[in-house]
């Protein structure tokens, strides 16, 4: 027999790194990453092309002659892209272990489930952030054409990006939680996008109709992030709905949004960890 290979004692950090590297390379080669990236680049490019068609003067006027205002409006899309990324990369990140052969490959190894979850959590976050960085760069380049590269509000852009990183963590946490509950990977992806976007948006609208601030919604909190760049921000607005009546529209303060988003990160990460640890391979 051959001599047994020497192995060091299990090192959770090393195992976590192994999971991250294999998972990130898997994501970056997947069609869903390339597809989502392509889609976002296309939508962003079309938006800028339409603005170009309108003419620089009109765009500058609409955006209150402010690079910051321009970026605030451009980055409003960030919420949707992050939620889509969370659905694509995290919506099935845990359910694959219980409905496909991936679990029988990974879960029989000497690794804690918390390490696997943490590795996949960071990987999904990195995949989404890779797309987000490109989206931010496109926004800056588009704005530079209209307002000049010298006027980029770097600090505000940095804060906005930082808050979007936290939103990404929150969206991934929610998606992981869903993924730890549902059995099928495709159902996980679909349920995530429906929950994060359609579900929250519907609840928000309903609550706003009653005159209340939908402070509990992750979508609402996320929509507050680009307000960092907004030069014409108002927290509450009255909108006429006819017959002399008004409805109240709420927009989150960035700081308020940050608190809500952080709460989502903590609660849903812990919940997904608990659910994933308890889940059995019954298939």
């Amino acid at each position: 027999m051959t001599e047994r290979p020497t192995r060091s004692r299990p090192n959770e950090l090393r195992q976590w790194y192994a999971v991250v590297t294999s998972q990130v390379s898997h994501y970056l080669r997947s069609y869903r990453f390339l597809g989502l990236l392509g889609f976002i680049v296309l939508i962003s490019a079309v938006t800028i092309l339409l603005e170009l068609q309108s003419g620089v003067t009109l765009v500058r006027a609409v955006q209150l002659y402010s690079y910051s205002e321009y970026l605030s409006n451009f980055y409003q899309w960030g919420n949707l892209w992050i939620f889509m990324g969370a659905a694509f990369f995290a919506g099935d990140a845990l359910s694959v272990d219980f409905s496909t052969g991936t679990g029988y490959y990974m879960l029989v190894l000497p690794i804690h489930r918390r390490t696997l979850l943490a590795g996949r959590y960071v990987s999904a976050t990195l995949a989404i952030l890779a797309i987000l960085v490109i989206f931010f760069v496109i926004g800056i380049l588009g704005g530079a054409y209209f307002f000049g590269i010298g006027d980029v509000p770097w600090l505000k852009v940095g804060i906005t990006f930082g808050l979007y990183v936290v939103l990404t963590l929150a969206a991934v946490s929610v998606a992981f939680c869903i993924s730890a509950v549902v059995r099928s990977p495709s159902a996980g992806v679909l349920t995530t996008i429906l929950t994060l976007y359609v579900g929250f948006m519907t609840l928000e609208t309903t609550v706003e109709l009653t005159g209340q601030e939908p402070w509990f919604s992750l979508n609402y909190a996320g929509n507050g992030i680009p307000n960092v760049l907004d030069i014409d921000f108002s927290h509450v607005a009255e909108l006429p709905v006819g017959t002399g009546q008004y409805t109240t529209l709420w927009t989150a303060y960035p700081s308020e949004g940050a608190v809500i988003i952080s709460a989502y990160v903590v609660v849903f990460f812990l919940l997904s960890l608990f659910l994933y640890n308890r889940k059995e391979s019954t298939g």
């Binding site: 027999m1 299990p10 991936t102 029988y104 000497p110 489930r113």
Partner: protein, 315 residues
């Protein structure tokens, strides 16, 4: 010393009800144990409980003295498992998939390279740069087996490791397991009873969630009553001559002009009548029970336990 220790292990599912009921066995030291039973007997469930894919309803499952429910990292540290149909990420190459396992097992970079080269050779793995998503079922199974063997863990839990392999690959795996059992403890689940007979020293038979037999392979074979007789005549006897035996002989297999194998119901009365009948056909050189294969013994044992299974054996 590698060990597998299962103590009063039970598992019940909400919909399917009890699948394992108070299963107990213990093996220590190198060797191979065949884990047999019909579909749904609870074999894969036992393996899943051992590696923590399921949580027991009752009892304990220990590997090398450690319980996976308490510390899965430590308990599985020296354990390789192949359960159901493991699938690496389809976007990963064979080398990447195995490298990930090596890293999780905390092998050094050189150790991983060495292990991949060794297993590539021993298991005739597909080209290492090929994407896992492009592998055939058999190739994928060999990669999964390689993943279980990487780092040379002392306990191996293998669930149908050659179910998707062609005959030549099956022989390859069988020979490898035959070598590994000298210094590893292998729990082998397989429907290929011939593989179990070839590789394993001991056999554990499970039926409807209960261990119905635990013994050495040769004892299992010896215990089962033979229902076949080998008769060798001193001069040629035509096959048609056996029609005179009537209902006593179920089937006749001609092994040569002089040598026949007769199937019967196993009773002593029928055996006596068949012997008398054979003597009428001509002088006999040899009249004996046909040597049973493990498969025959296994089938006889399962057919003989229609009620609640009772444990037999000495293991």
């Amino acid at each position: 010393m590698p060990s597998i220790d299962v103590r009063h292990l039970s598992k019940s599912f909400r919909k399917a009800g009890p699948v394992l009921d108070d299963v107990t066995f213990r093996y220590e030291g190198p060797g191979a144990i065949g884990y047999l039973g019909p579909n749904g007997a609870g074999k894969t469930t036992t393996l899943k409980l051992l590696v923590g894919l399921l949580r027991p309803t009752g009892g304990r499952a220990l590997l090398n003295g450690l319980e996976v429910t308490e510390n899965r990292q430590a308990a599985l540290w020296d354990v390789g498992a192949l359960i159901e149909t493991p699938e690496p990420y389809p976007t990963q190459s064979v080398a990447e998939a195995l490298r990930t396992v090596g890293q999780i097992r905390s092998l050094s970079r050189e150790g991983i390279d060495f292990e991949i080269a060794r297993l590539h050779e021993e298991l005739k793995l597909p080209p290492l740069e090929r994407r896992c998503g492009a592998l055939s079922k058999g190739q994928r199974q060999r990669v999964a087996l390689a993943a279980a063997l990487i780092g040379d863990p002392s306990v191996l839990l293998l669930d149908e490791p050659s179910s998707a392999l062609d005959p030549a690959e099956r022989v390859l795996v069988r020979n490898l397991l035959g070598r590994l059992k000298k210094d590893h403890l292998i729990l082998l689940v397989s429907h290929q009873v011939a593989d179990i007979a070839e590789v394993c020293d001991d056999v554990l038979i499970l039926d409807r969630g209960h261990v119905v037999l635990k013994d050495h392979v040769e004892n299992v074979i010896a215990r089962a009553p033979s229902r076949q007789l080998d008769v060798e005549f001193l001069r040629a006897v035509p096959l048609a001559a056996f029609s005179a035996f009537g209902a006593d002989v179920g089937a006749v297999e001609r092994l040569s002009d002089l040598h026949y194998r007769l199937r019967f119901d196993g009773s002593e009365e029928a055996r006596g009548r068949i012997l008398a009948g054979c003597l009428r056909l001509g002088p006999i050189a040899q009249f004996s029970n046909a040597t049973l294969a493990l498969e025959d013994a296994y089938l006889q044992l399962l057919n003989a336990t229609p009620g609640p299974p009772a444990v037999v054996g000495s293991g």
